[in-house]
Symmetry: C2
Subunit: 232 residues, 2 copies
Amino acid sequence: MSVSGLVIGIDGGGSKTLAWLADATYSYGAVPLGVGEAGPSNPQSVGWETALENMGRAVDTAFLAAGYSPCKIAAACVAMAGSDRENARHRLNEWSAGRELAERFLPVHDAAALLAAGTPDGYGVAIISGTGSLAFGRSESGKTARSGGWGYLFGDEGSGYAVAIAGLRAVASAADGRTAATLLTDRFLHELAIASPNEMVQAVYARQDDHTWLSSLSQIVVSAANEGDAVA
Amino acid sequence: MSVSGLVIGIDGGGSKTLAWLADATYSYGAVPLGVGEAGPSNPQSVGWETALENMGRAVDTAFLAAGYSPCKIAAACVAMAGSDRENARHRLNEWSAGRELAERFLPVHDAAALLAAGTPDGYGVAIISGTGSLAFGRSESGKTARSGGWGYLFGDEGSGYAVAIAGLRAVASAADGRTAATLLTDRFLHELAIASPNEMVQAVYARQDDHTWLSSLSQIVVSAANEGDAVA
């Protein structure tokens, strides 16, 4: 096994970063050697400095877990939301070059990695619905298309974030008497540990920048819907 | 004219704070004596510390403009979004007591002040549609009701913020090919000084916390609608 046969895959997400070091020279497929985990590396939520730091930590930890000193390897791929945009690609390429990560370096967006993981034939459609949302497809002939991935302000339809916000809107609207009463009111008051919908303003805006937390509130909507609440 | 006949009205907004000092003892109505202006005092956008500082500055400047040294006056009223909530009322009362502002102090939400200004008879419906939105009504018998005022995350229907976000969504959706092409695309690219919708992500998220700026983008939607754009 030569060091030059090593490859690394980095999954840079909004809640954590995973780096997998593998040996690609085995004839029956890549063999995983070590995994490293670090904090979030979605630059939209934590900024580029923290994102790159955590990617570096995940990579170093994967080398350590595999029993290697960090060295320049054959190839590396980073899967990260938005990394198909010019500016992001530039930052990632610079980072990879700066630490002499690999001979070949490829940043892809997270849906491309999902598609690769989910389809042995390499074509199909991948739907991401986490904190944000994005759809990405690749045809048999290699043609690709994407839709969504515009973030919480003007995209993210169908994401956890969008579902949670729709639930909060339903509670606000019901409190005003604009729409029907819903199970969601009691559920949100309970989750936020408050006594009345008016207090939602303070309870939610105090954590308005924590999109992971906001998205997690979508569970309330999903469980109320499962119990037959018409609004949810 | 006695100092005890002085009253002050403070309009605490998201972009500026205005304080009007007036003499209420004239038999033909209050006479404005001096106006003070300071920076924003909407605690949701600038935090309580800055909000109270700017209110203090506006009040001091109004006294100065009227030729008075700041002193305890007869009555003061603060109109501010959200000031009908318990926590806000408490903060404002503390601030007023701390600086010995007035014998009587009344915090009201901004729609109540709008209603008072707009209806000589004191009843009717006030609609606020600025950065945020709120409707407030008072009946002839004094019964009041409000709807909205839940902020940009789960309210603000019909506000400048909501209109601007809807415009950005239309451009994103058209760029994906999900909905019809619209004049809005060219207008937003021009306004943001970017070459393609993809660059909107960087251009807009860089200023995502500047709700006043985001709301101002609603002008683009309004002017495109006036020119007959179906999507706008």
